[in-house]
């Protein structure tokens, strides 16, 4: 039993990070039909931006701020203006391919300009263990879970409780009508890109201390976030959150109870089953079929 409890906590902590990444992924899809195959690399890069800032002598807190700002400029603004905007009208597929190329580009750039080796990364959460309900739980897991939940809570509050959030949702659901009733759709789309960049930077900050900073670490993370987003519901923020937590827990349980060799297969089979029996995702609403 104690084993199961530990697995659940650890699973929820990774799941919370998947959720952060998956939320950004669904935001981009909703507002601009962008399937970002570089989302995993988007999580990998901010950690290296922060490490680079520390290399030139910035203290950790300043490096974090610089990293988040740079991430919002590069992965938010520049990504939208240089790649998404020129390609948006050409449909989903060419843009998806372009983001694959972007993923290769980011990976190689980090390998070339920084290091091919894994680098340690300082933790914003104190390391160590505490005892909860008679179980030893690592502070890092708890810290990651708390920060991720706060971020997601903040985002859903923004989306559901503020007028800005309502404008964003309107822009995402029906750009034409939103434009007619005076929503600055373009600005709202840019905002979702900036939010995505912020979320990936935050995820980077949370996950890198655990798995080290490595140029190739985005691959697994990106795939997990895709699965989370689809399982939960491609067109729903709360779907992405639920999907993230579910995949995190499932992955951890699979590693313990199925087999370490086929642990990666469990989320995949789950994904196929969900797509075939409930294509809109567990919490998603069905999209109208366009002919």
């Amino acid at each position: 039993m104690s084993n199961l409890f530990d697995l659940l906590v650890a699973g929820l902590a990774t799941g919370a990070i998947y959720a952060l990444v998956a939320v950004g992924f669904t935001l981009l899809w909703q507002t601009s039909q962008t399937i970002n195959f570089a989302q995993g690399e988007f999580v990998m890069l901010p950690a290296f931006l922060m490490l680079a800032a520390m290399h030139v002598g910035a203290p950790f807190w300043l490096a974090i701020i610089l990293g988040i700002l740079l991430s919002m400029i590069l992965l938010g603004l520049a990504f939208k203006m240089l790649l998404v905007d020129p390609m948006m009208r050409h449909g989903v597929l060419p843009l998806a391919i372009a983001t694959m190329a972007l993923a290769i580009g980011i990976k190689e750039a980090v390998k070339q300009f920084f290091s091919a080796e894994a680098s340690p990364f300082p933790s914003i959460v104190p390391t160590g263990d505490i005892t909860v309900l008679g179980h030893v739980v690592s502070l890092q897991s708890i810290g990651v879970l708390v920060v991720a939940i706060l971020a997601v809570f903040g985002l859903t509050t923004l989306l559901n409780r503020t007028s800005l959030g309502h404008q964003m949702q309107a822009a995402a659901q029906n750009p034409m009508v939103a434009r007619i009733i005076g929503v600055p759709v373009e600005r709202m789309i840019l905002l979702t890109f900036l939010i995505n960049a912020f979320l990936v930077a935050l995820a980077s900050l949370l996950i890198t201390p655990i798995y080290l900073a490595k140029f190739s670490s985005g691959e697994v993370l990106g795939q997990a976030a895709f699965i989370a987003a689809i399982v939960g519901g491609f067109n729903q923020v709360r779907g992405a959150i639920a999907g993230g937590l579910l995949i995190g827990v499932l992955d951890n349980l699979a590693a313990a109870y199925v087999s370490t060799q086929y642990r990666a297969a469990v989320p995949m089979i789950f994904l196929i089953a969900v797509i075939l029996f409930r294509p809109q995702g567990l919490l998603g609403r069905a999209e109208e079929r366009t002919v």
Binding site: L83, M87, L102, Q112, I230, L276, V291
Partner: protein, 332 residues
């Protein structure tokens, strides 16, 4: 390419074919390997072009079929079977698996289908890696023999390059025939408008499955050649990134254009080699080149050519119209 006169096109084709046969004769080992790799990847990309470019079904699993073909041929030739038999088995096997993979396409489309096939790709990789009694696991299979064709040993790089080139020629002719047959037209109808295709009496179910199966079978052929080409296989080359690469080849070359895969594979296989003098920067430059190309022309390289030809034709047509109009006016 319809702007060219037909004899000119034939002459151009013959020159390219002659070049592919003659020029590599004084290439070194490595150059021949790269060129053989281009031929093999072109075959795989042609398969994906059938599925994606002609039938409009997004697949991120073509790399897995290259893997299935490669393992089938490696395991069989290691047990003493001749390569042609192994290729046949690879075709049948990947055709059958591809047919099964087509079933999700009957239910979901576009990005959902992309993710189902992506999941399949990862599952196939796990099987290659974990079923070591069959695939050798992470240690892979080494010393894969190269075949004797008509009594000639193809152990040396040049003869085996001709094996790859010859296979490419056969596949090219088969695909050329296929896309001009009623099947090819049914595929395109499926891509353009599935509902209308159905109302015209096309069995969309059967053709969707067929598009996946035939496309996957060509992936299997490519794999069956890849194994003797490298003479060593392990799971790593057949992971998800091969599927992504193949998809990139098809889109960059021009999806739905017959010559798209040839150009796409050329860019994906040869461009990084040409850029190798830039040392560590070559994949970065490659990525930037792909992004730049797609921003400029989302329909790939052949899309640019196609637009240029279309513009020229419209120009020529409007010039003809102007002449005809002025003649009419003078006649009145």
């Amino acid at each position: 390419m319809s702007g060219f006169a037909k004899p000119l096109k034939i002459a151009l084709g013959l020159i390219v074919i002659a070049g592919l046969i003659v020029v590599p004769m004084n290439f070194n080992r490595y150059g021949l390997f790269i060129l053989s790799q281009w031929a093999v990847m072109t075959i795989a990309a042609m398969g994906l072009n059938l599925t994606l470019g002609y039938a409009g079904q997004v697949s991120l699993a073509q790399g897995a079929f290259v893997g299935i073909g490669a393992y089938a041929s490696a395991i069989m030739t290691a047990h003493g079977w001749p390569l042609p038999v192994a290729i046949l088995v690879a075709i049948v096997l990947s055709f059958a698996v591809g047919w099964l993979l087509g079933y999700p396409a009957l239910r979901v489309q576009h990005h959902y289908l992309a993710f189902v096939t992506l999941a399949f790709s990862t599952l196939a990789f796990l099987v290659f890696r974990n079923e070591s009694w069959l695939t050798g696991g992470i240690y892979g299979i080494s010393n894969i023999p190269r075949p004797h064709i008509f009594g000639i040993a193809t152990n040396k790089p040049l003869p085996f390059y001709y094996v790859c080139l010859g296979s490419l020629a056969i596949v090219s002719l088969a695909v050329w025939w296929l896309i001009r047959s009623p099947w090819g037209r049914a595929f395109m109808a499926l891509r353009e408008n599935p509902l209308r295709a159905q109302s015209l009496g096309i069995d969309t179910r059967r053709y969707t499955l067929m598009a996946f199966a035939i496309g996957s079978a060509l992936g299997g052929v490519a794999g069956a050649l890849y194994a003797p080409l490298t003479q060593y296989i392990d799971p790593v080359p057949f992971n998800l990134s091969l599927s992504l690469d193949l998809l990139m080849m098809v889109i960059v070359g021009g999806a739905g254009f017959y010559f798209g895969p040839f150009l796409g594979a050329m860019i994906a296989v040869l461009l990084p080699e040409w850029l190798r003098f830039t040392e560590g920067y070559y994949l970065m430059l490659y990525a930037i080149a792909v992004m730049g190309l797609l921003v400029w022309s989302p329909t790939g390289i052949l899309g640019i050519l196609d637009r240029y030809m279309a513009a020229r034709r419209t120009k020529a047509a409007s010039a003809l119209r102007a002449v005809a109009k002025s003649r009419l006016e003078t006649a009145q």
